[in-house]
C-alpha cells in the first residue's frame, strides 16, 4: 500500500445492498482504481446536496483486503444526516463518493500474528470483522477471541458468518445489554472484568487487543483491561463517538 498517496475522492458504484440487522445495511461497492486496504481501515463518504451542501462521515471497511468488492456496513441513525440516505435510498448502480483507505494505527495484518482479542460494541464489530475475514482469507492460524456486545440478538451484525468463523479457531462470545432471547446462554449486561478474565485478558502473555465501538464502550473496556494488568500501549482503540455515527 502506498503510504504517500494524496487522498483523492473517487466515485464508487453500489453493486449490492445487504441487510444485516433491522437497522444496519452493508453497501457492497465497486471502486475504480481502489489501491487496496488493510483490515481495520476506514473510508470517508461524502454526500453533496443539489444546493452544494456537503456532509462527510467515516465508515469502517467490513471486507477483507482479499475481497474483490469494498464493503462498508452502515448503522442507520434515525435522525442522522447521512446514514438514512445510505441505508434507505441507495440502489444498485447508484454512485457513492468516497476517499480512502484511511488510517494505519487501528489495523491488523496476518503477518502481525496473534493471539488476537477483539472487543466490539455494536457497529464497532465492522473493522474487527474485516480482520476476521482477512484472517480466514489468508488461512491464518492466529488464535482469535471475539467479544460482541450488542443491545439484543437481533442487533448482532454478521451473526451467521460469525458462527462459521467460530468453527475455525476463533472463539466468539456475546453479551446482550438490553434484551436476551428466551433460554439465552450467553452473557447479559455491559462488559465486565469477569467476562474479560474469562476471555483470558488477565493472562500475562502478549495479546493483540483491539477495542472498537461507541466512545463510552471503548473507554470502559479499555479501563477494565488496564485494571486487569494489560499495558495501555498494547490496546488499540477506535471510538465512534456518542452513538456510533450519523
Amino acid at each position: 500500500m502506498p503510504r504517500r498517496a494524496p487522498l483523492t475522492w473517487r466515485v464508487a458504484t453500489v453493486a449490492r445492498l445487504q441487510p444485516e440487522t433491522p437497522s444496519a445495511t452493508t453497501l457492497i461497492l465497486d471502486v475504480p482504481q481502489w489501491p487496496g486496504h488493510l483490515a481495520g481501515q476506514h473510508v470517508d463518504v461524502r454526500l453533496t446536496a443539489e444546493d452544494g451542501y456537503e456532509a462527510e462521515r467515516s465508515y469502517s471497511i467490513a471486507s477483507a483486503p482479499e475481497d474483490p468488492h469494498l464493503a462498508i456496513t452502515i448503522e442507520r441513525i434515525d435522525d442522522g444526516e447521512v446514514s438514512p440516505y445510505l441505508t434507505d435510498e441507495l440502489r444498485p448502480g447508484d454512485p457513492v463518493e468516497l476517499r480512502g483507505p484511511i488510517g494505519g494505527y487501528f489495523t491488523w495484518e496476518v503477518a502481525d500474528g496473534g493471539p488476537l482479542l477483539l472487543l466490539a460494541g455494536g457497529s464497532g464489530l465492522v473493522p474487527l470483522m474485516a480482520m476476521l475475514r482477512h484472517r480466514a482469507a489468508a488461512t491464518s492460524d492466529a488464535a482469535a477471541t471475539v467479544l460482541v456486545s450488542a443491545r439484543s440478538w437481533e442487533d448482532v451484525l454478521y451473526r451467521d458468518e460469525l458462527a462459521t468463523h467460530d468453527e475455525h479457531g476463533v472463539t466468539v462470545r456475546y453479551t446482550l445489554t438490553r434484551r436476551q432471547p428466551p433460554e439465552w446462554t450467553g452473557w447479559a449486561g455491559r462488559v465486565s472484568a469477569e467476562m474479560l478474565r474469562e476471555l483470558g485478558a488477565d493472562r500475562p502473555e502478549p495479546l493483540r487487543v483491539f477495542v472498537c465501538g461507541p466512545t463510552g464502550f471503548v473507554e470502559r473496556v479499555a479501563d477494565l483491561l488496564v485494571q486487569l494488568g494489560r499495558d495501555p500501549h498494547a490496546i488499540k482503540t477506535e471510538r465512534f463517538g456518542p452513538t456510533g455515527g450519523s
Binding site: S58, Y105, T215, P232
Partner: protein, 95 residues
C-alpha cells in the same frame, strides 16, 4: 442526554482530514507528550470537535494538536515531539 465523556472520538476519526493536510498516513505518527512524556501514536489520542479539532494526550489530556478549518484553509499547531520512521524507497527489507 449523553455523558460528556462520550463526546470525544480519537485520532482515527480525523485521519482523513489529516492525511489530506500531511499527504501521508497520520494515525501511526508517534508523539511524545510535552507534559507527561508518554509516547503514543496519533491514532490513540483523544479527539474533540468544537469550533475546530483538538487532539489530546491519552495519558494526561494535554493538547497535542489544534486544527481550525477556515473557508479556504486549514490552520494547525502541533505540540510535543512528533516522529515517524519510514523506509527508504528501494531499500525496504535490506537491513
Amino acid at each position: 442526554m449523553t455523558d460528556a465523556s462520550d463526546q470525544h472520538t480519537d485520532g482515527n476519526a480525523i485521519a482523513g482530514i489529516l492525511q489530506e493536510i500531511f499527504v501521508a498516513e497520520f494515525t501511526t505518527l508517534e508523539r511524545t507528550c510535552q507534559s507527561c512524556g508518554d509516547r503514543n501514536p496519533a491514532g490513540a489520542h483523544r479527539s474533540y470537535r468544537g469550533a475546530g479539532i483538538v487532539l489530546r494526550c491519552p495519558h494526561c489530556n494535554d493538547v497535542a494538536l489544534r486544527l481550525a478549518v477556515l473557508p479556504d484553509q486549514y490552520v494547525f499547531e502541533l505540540r510535543g515531539a512528533w516522529s515517524r520512521r519510514s523506509e527508504i524507497a528501494g531499500l525496504a527489507g535490506a537491513e
